[in-house]
């Protein structure tokens, strides 16, 4: 078996509320990190941007959809990027966008709003792109 390390970009597109792909992706990233591979970025697109919504209040005893990602950052540092256009469409703002549109910021710390150029960059730089 080859020991060559591989770099990955993950693209998530599904709502973390309605689908289990968010948790599947976290398990996959954890396993890849344990295997010594590199996570270039996790890019949240379409309804997956809700993962970075700070104001989530989960049911008693349950976790928010972002907690698992924050924990993974302690194993390896990688960007958690939300598509900025998709986020604004769904009312998710960082400080800069909140000021621009006179809204309250509600982006969870550890996540960032990014343009699709980041995904274009991923197509060039990552060995593998996985969409979940």
């Amino acid at each position: 078996m080859s020991s060559e390390k591989i770099s990955y970009t993950l693209i998530l597109t599904q709502s973390p509320i309605q689908n289990e792909s968010n948790l599947t992706a976290q398990s996959l990233v954890s396993a890849l990190i344990d295997a010594g591979d590199t996570i270039d970025r996790v890019f949240f697109y379409q309804d997956a941007v809700y993962t970075g919504l700070k104001s989530q209040i989960p049911g008693q005893g349950l976790e928010t959809s972002y907690q698992g990602w924050i924990a993974l950052l302690e194993k390896q540092s990688f960007p958690l990027q939300l598509c900025i256009a998709n986020s604004l469409r769904r009312g998710i703002h960082d400080e800069a966008e909140a000021n621009r549109y006179s809204q309250a910021a509600n982006l969870q710390q550890g996540f960032q709003l990014s343009g699709l150029g980041e995904l274009a960059e991923a197509c060039l730089s990552s060995d593998r792109i996985i969409r979940l």
Binding site: Y45, N86, L119
Partner: protein
Amino acid sequence: MNLIIVSTGPTPDLEPIELLLALAAFEQNPKLLLLGPGIYHANLLQKEKKPQGKAAGKVLAVLPMYDCDEIFVSQKDLAQLSLTKDDLQSFCQVVSDDEIKQLIQHSKHCVTF
């Protein structure tokens, strides 16, 4: 070459197509493969899905301006939708299952929606 595969129908905001446009704008030479209900993106009769929205066909029509004019449509799925090539944007190419296999094999990355 990156291949965007769309197998879901057009939505009020055409987010999968936005990704395609972004890749084209960054000169990534993306190609688009439409399967199943995704074929409706290229259907000339499709209207916008929300007030002041954009019809998918009109958005696809600008792709050649970004040197992104390789849009492939599954021959089998097209027939299942009772559509013909004449119902689609003129630059769409109807492809067989074998050709789809080749497209996927020759792509560096495939992103599905």
